[in-house]
């Protein structure tokens, strides 16, 4: 039987914030790619010392359709997602996202949509599927 730790009581847990973001990429992209992009960028900007405090995690990702007139940019893919981090480090994590410019030699851009305290309200207010 796998031993499991008992879950921490809420008062001792780290406080979290959820950042809703969207990304536009020229080509196909998966969840692992997004994780590696965000982690690499945070390591480059803040180093191991800073990135260790973030407690980063990609919670969810949704593929979206690109705008109404996607006739010319067939390869362009748009995704929306939710990123979890510690409450004290929200500003730093937010600073990491705009520094991501390239992935596998192709252009990529991240925009934050908003910050929320729960996954539910982040999806409802900012993702708006």
């Amino acid at each position: 039987m796998i031993q499991k730790l008992k879950i921490l009581p809420p008062t001792i847990r780290d406080k979290k914030r959820y950042i809703a973001f969207e990304l536009i990429f020229h080509g196909e992209i998966g969840r692992e790619d997004v994780i590696s992009m965000v982690l690499d960028a945070s390591l480059y900007l803040f180093g191991a010392n800073g990135a260790g405090k973030f407690d980063l995690w990609i919670v969810k990702l949704w593929p979206c359709r690109t705008g109404e007139d996607n006739t010319e940019n067939v390869n362009e893919h748009k995704m929306k997602g939710i990123l979890r981090c510690r409450r004290e480090e929200v500003d730093s994590v937010r600073a990491v996202l705009p520094t991501i410019t390239k992935f596998r030699g192709k252009n990529v851009v991240f925009h934050t949509l908003g910050i929320s305290g729960t996954i539910k309200s982040a999806t409802k207010n900012f993702i708006k599927l």
């Binding site: 004290e88 929200v90 705009p98």
Partner: protein, 241 residues
């Protein structure tokens, strides 16, 4: 608990400006979606002709954004700069000089007709500014530009240099109080960032939230306002009614 996490401070979110953008209609629409209120469409001095003017008017009719014409002058020596500024001052709203050379930096800081000195740190190790230039820039109301594309396009290995250059500029700015603006210098929609992201990123350059908000909101707004009234000002403090 730390005091400043993003959602704390609620500034007026409807007044963000970007004074350096080379683009077409698609880019302007994207900027509008990201929450900008005003944009300066920039053309290089060599490319400024009737085509740009026509395109500008076409775009202006189709959007709700505040659109301004901006010209970017690149020159090798101060004499050339003076000629080019003289030529273009009355044609456009905003005159921007691309720096990098020390003499050009100095000439641009001393010229009242110049609005923005773009990238004084370009292809240099230091900032290209010192206390003399900073004082001149403050006297003549020349804004210094912090260029985000320059930061983002620099190789990851050398980004630390850019960050330290921006930090030194901010140190000078606090002492001499010349205007400072943050621009995107975007060619495509992959270069654009939302204003809130820019505020978060500029914390890495040692700017406080108030400073960075001023750099993308109130200072550009002042520049636009001054230039709207430039024709009626005779000299400092005197205007025709």
């Amino acid at each position: 608990m730390q005091k400043n996490y993003s959602s704390r401070i609620n500034f007026d979110k409807s007044k963000f400006f970007d004074l350096h953008m080379h683009g077409d209609k698609e880019l302007i629409n994207e900027a509008e979606r990201l929450g900008y209120a005003g944009i300066a469409l920039t053309s290089y001095f060599e490319d400024y002709n009737n085509d740009f003017f026509n395109e500008f008017e076409e775009i202006e009719q189709s959007t709700n954004l505040i659109l301004k014409k901006c010209i970017e002058i690149s020159c090798k020596n101060p004499e050339e700069l003076k000629k080019k500024v003289q030529k273009s001052r009355k044609k456009v709203d905003i005159v921007m000089v691309r720096g990098g050379d020390l003499k050009v930096n100095r000439a641009a800081c001393e010229d009242r007709r110049v609005d923005v000195l773009s990238q004084p740190y370009r292809s240099r190790r230091d900032t290209g500014l010192n206390h003399v230039l900073a004082r001149k820039a403050a006297e003549n109301n020349v804004a210094i530009e912090i260029n985000l594309k320059f930061f983002l396009k620099t190789n990851l290995r050398y980004r630390y240099q850019v960050i330290s250059q921006y930090r030194h500029i901010m140190d000078l700015q606090r002492k001499f109080e010349f205007p400072i603006i943050i621009t995107s210098n975007s060619n495509s929609k992959y270069d654009l960032r939302t204003p809130q992201d820019i505020i978060a990123l500029s914390k890495c350059f040692g700017m406080t939230i108030e400073e960075s908000y001023g750099a993308i909101s109130t200072t550009p707004e002042n520049i636009i306002e001054i230039n709207d009234n430039r024709s009626i000002f005779v000299i400092d403090g005197v205007k025709t009614i």
